[in-house]
């Protein structure tokens, strides 16, 4: 699985906001912190608001705030908006006979892989994800 750029930005933003749940950060703050495009991040932030993972706070000192729970919100919750687990095997048109059977078989395998990938991504909370990184850094 190749993580989309938008998923990476979404994880930066959500984890950054979750690090201080009571505080608001602007898109520019987060973009500067991770050296990413403010323009692209702004689109991602709007998508995260639509998903209900963050909220926009208006007024002086406004910005965005994390609304989830790091012990419940999973990796999949954050990236689902930007990723597709649809089968990557493109079945050519007009297949017949043995060739069609082979592609049908491959499609079944791909669906099984999608199920496993989805279950794995949806089992890792933000807290666990951060701990993986911290544990790896200690080693």
């Amino acid at each position: 699985m190749k993580l989309q750029k938008a998923s990476r930005y979404a994880l930066y933003a959500v984890l950054h906001l979750a690090s201080e749940p009571g505080r608001q950060f602007s898109t520019a703050d987060i973009a500067a912190q991770y050296s990413v495009s403010t323009h692209h991040l702004a689109k991602v932030m709007r998508a995260l608001v639509r998903c209900g993972l963050i909220e926009s706070v208006r007024g002086v000192g406004g910005g965005y705030r994390f609304t989830g729970n790091v012990r419940r919100t999973t990796l999949w919750d954050v990236i689902a908006e930007f990723e597709s687990l649809e089968a990557n095997i493109e079945i050519p048109d007009n297949l017949e006979g043995e060739a069609e059977k082979i592609f049908i078989g491959l499609d079944i395998v791909n669906q099984e892989l999608d199920t496993l990938i989805r279950a794995t991504l949806d089992s890792i909370t933000l807290q666990t994800l951060l701990r993986y990184g911290e544990d790896a850094a200690k080693k």
């Binding site: 984890l15 201080e20 749940p21 012990r71 279950a119 089992s123 909370t125 807290q127 951060l130």
Partner: protein, 158 residues
């Protein structure tokens, strides 16, 4: 980076081995969590895992409050040589009262069971959870479990 998240205060919890008298509270808690009544299953389970039938390979622990209210339980056993697997601890059941979750009760139960399994001589713990059971999957992930070398396979019987 670390995350700050408000966690409600941890009630004083006592972990102890289950006994046959815990049956009705265990059945009630399981019914509350799963929505199904499995009285016979748990009665049989307790008979094999608790009280005088308790063996070092099988453990059934309960969590109770200071008021002796049962608020969680965990069960596990040591299995060996299934398709070549060396002796390994298997977690077979875990339930915590939904109103008291995210306060460390599951972790206390898990740690206590792991300690018992370690004393019994195993160095690995394993479990099997439905792929869409987000609560249990994320809990075990949080306790450090990850995908291992075995893969669950199944099919409908013809």
């Amino acid at each position: 980076m670390s995350t700050a998240q408000a966690t409600e205060s941890l009630p004083t919890i006592h972990i102890r081995p289950a006994n046959p008298d815990d049956g009705s509270a265990i059945i009630a808690l399981d019914r509350l969590v799963t929505g199904s009544n499995k009285a016979e299953y748990w009665a049989d389970f307790l008979q094999r895992f608790a009280g005088k039938n308790h063996k070092i390979q099988r453990h059934f622990l309960v969590a109770e409050t200071e008021e002796q209210k049962l608020v969680g339980f965990i069960a596990g056993e040591i299995r060996a040589w299934e398709f070549g697997s060396p002796p390994c601890g298997w977690i077979l059941a875990l339930n915590v009262n939904p109103e008291l979750r995210e306060r460390g009760i599951g972790t206390q139960l898990f740690d206590a069971l792991c300690a018992e399994l370690k004393v019994a001589g195993v160095s690995t713990v394993r479990t099997m959870v439905r792929g869409d059971d987000k609560v249990n999957l994320s809990f075990f992930r949080g306790e450090g479990l990850a995908a291992g070398p075995y893969i669950e396979l199944e099919r409908r019987l013809k």
